[in-house]
């Protein structure tokens, strides 16, 4: 593949290397030292296609409106048996003994405000909120962790399983 007079990156270059962003391809480099211009980076994208078989294309054009969604739940267990299930939304779910908590855990060794589950970057994370007895994930005391299907959370005497189902919007 030839791109003409310089090593200017195509949008596909950006998508492949930097992913995630909908920003212009080289926005990431805009803060670079002004006295050291980079050859090729300020070239408009339409000139690239004249020299290249690679067509400018945005991530959105490829992905369209399809975005996988996941339903996630916290399954509360008592003596190993499922006692209740809470569906998580894209907000924040606070867990603790306090009646204002989204997930109330009236059990020994649970702090008033113990931990929270937050939806961030399309994933759910659990974060300990300075509890007295700690938050454990699969037996490890954590400050914070991205949750994965079947993770075992221990908050005081509360035993919780994180359940995740991936579904598409069409379903």
């Amino acid at each position: 593949m030839s791109t003409g007079n310089g090593p200017g990156p195509t949008p596909l270059f950006h998508d492949a290397f930097f992913g995630l962003k909908e920003e212009p391809i080289w926005a990431i480099f805009q803060n670079m030292k002004k006295d050291k211009p980079l050859s090729g980076f300020d070239r408009p994208t339409d000139t690239i296609s004249e020299f290249s078989e690679t067509r400018p294309i945005s991530r959105k054009a490829v992905v369209g409106d399809f975005s996988p969604r996941r339903n996630a739940y916290l399954e509360l267990r008592f003596s190993g048996v499922r006692s209740s299930c809470v569906e998580l939304n894209e907000g924040e779910a606070v867990l603790g003994r306090d009646p204002r908590c989204h997930v109330q855990l009236q059990l020994p060794n649970v702090s008033r405000i113990h931990a929270r589950v937050v939806h961030r970057n399309e994933e759910y994370e659990i974060e300990d909120l300075g509890s007295t007895n700690g938050t454990f994930l699969n037996g490890v005391q954590i400050k914070k962790c991205i949750l994965r299907h079947n993770d075992h959370i221990q908050i005081g005497d509360a035993e919780i399983i994180y359940i995740e189902e991936k579904i598409s919007k069409d379903e």
Binding site: P7, G8, P9, F17, F18, L20, I28, F29, N31, M32, K33, K36, L38, G40, F41, E123, E125, E127, D128, L129, G130, L137, N138, G139, V140, Q141, I142, K143, K144, C145, I146, R148
Partner: protein, 299 residues
């Protein structure tokens, strides 16, 4: 950004995979990015290795930079310069933001200067932006025999011999807490009598002294015992050996790290269950877990 006490020592795994990145559903739990660990205490920020995981750390730090009036210096310590430990560096966004103070540390025991090695991976044939074009205030330091004081943390280090090209292990200490980062080393060569030479006894003691009683040891545990015997001399440790050494040294928590690219989440879950069951049986107080991306521990 995590809300935390300024005295709290936080360790976050951004990349845990060894050798090459392994994206995909089979590795989403433990992660597919190559080594990068972030350690912070108050305003002190240390990064251990610049594998592909550093790209995501960079995005997170760049978000924080938008909210901060003052910029906190960043200190990147490289265990060595094999691909999987430096490949993410060109994509580390704070290095492309003017005003970022970034110091990179690494071994002086290379044929070429560290700066030369890092700049060669950003040669125009491999990457469109050169090292000298990065906007940050970038300093590259080859470590000497002295301890390094970085903000509230003291960093000391040792060269590791059993890895092709060598590698460095680091120990970070603050307020009585200690974290050791010792990846990319073939400890089986020191520990297994059938392949150990007499001259290696000193190295074994040196290693055990270095990790003695640490609160967290992040250690190479790439292979199962069966796999190891097919890969003697490749520079990585088998899981049973690192567990035995950590137990002997009274390590409090052991994070098995540098996961074999062929090991799926299912496989790592299986290994975790198998070894934890054995540790529970002999009532070892040490916690052993397989490091996973997106996990933060408070030490």
């Amino acid at each position: 950004m995590i809300a935390h006490d300024a005295s709290e020592l936080l360790v976050t795994f951004w990349g845990t995979r060894g050798s090459i990145s392994t994206p995909g559903r089979r590795t989403e739990k433990y992660g597919g990015n190559t080594p990068c660990v972030f350690v912070q205490q108050g305003d002190t920020q240390i990064i251990l290795d610049a594998g592909t995981g550093i790209r995501l750390l960079g995005l997170d730090l760049a978000e924080q930079l938008k909210e901060q009036r003052t910029r906190r210096p960043l200190h990147l310590f490289l265990s060595h310069t094999h691909w999987d430990h430096i490949q993410g560096f060109p994509f580390f966004q704070p290095a492309n933001i003017e005003g970022t103070e970034l110091t990179v540390y690494g071994s002086a025991k290379k044929e070429r200067f560290l700066e030369s090695i890092l700049s060669r991976q950003m040669d125009v044939d491999y990457f469109p932006v050169g090292l000298a074009d990065m906007a940050a205030d970038l300093k590259i330091r080859e470590i000497s025999d002295e301890e390094i004081q970085v903000g509230s943390l003291v960093v000391d280090w040792q060269e590791q011999v059993f890895h092709p090209g060598g590698s460095v292990r680091y120990r970070l200490s603050a307020g009585g807490k200690r974290v050791a980062y010792a990846t990319d080393v073939e400890l089986d060569r020191l520990f297994r009598p059938e392949i150990r030479g007499d001259r290696d006894k000193g190295s074994l003691k040196e290693y055990l002294d270095f990790i003695q009683g640490v609160d967290l040891l992040i250690a190479d545990g790439q292979y199962t015992e069966e796999e190891y015997f097919e890969k003697v001399g490749w520079g990585h440790t088998s899981i049973p050996v690192i567990i035995e050494l950590a137990k002997e040294a009274g390590v409090k928590q052991l994070a098995i790290f540098h996961h074999e690219p062929l090991h799926s989440d299912q496989m790592l879950d299986f290994l975790w269950k198998e070894y934890n069951a054995a540790l529970r049986e002999d009532e070892t107080p040490m916690t052993v877990f397989w490091a996973r991306e997106g996990m933060t521990l408070s030490i």
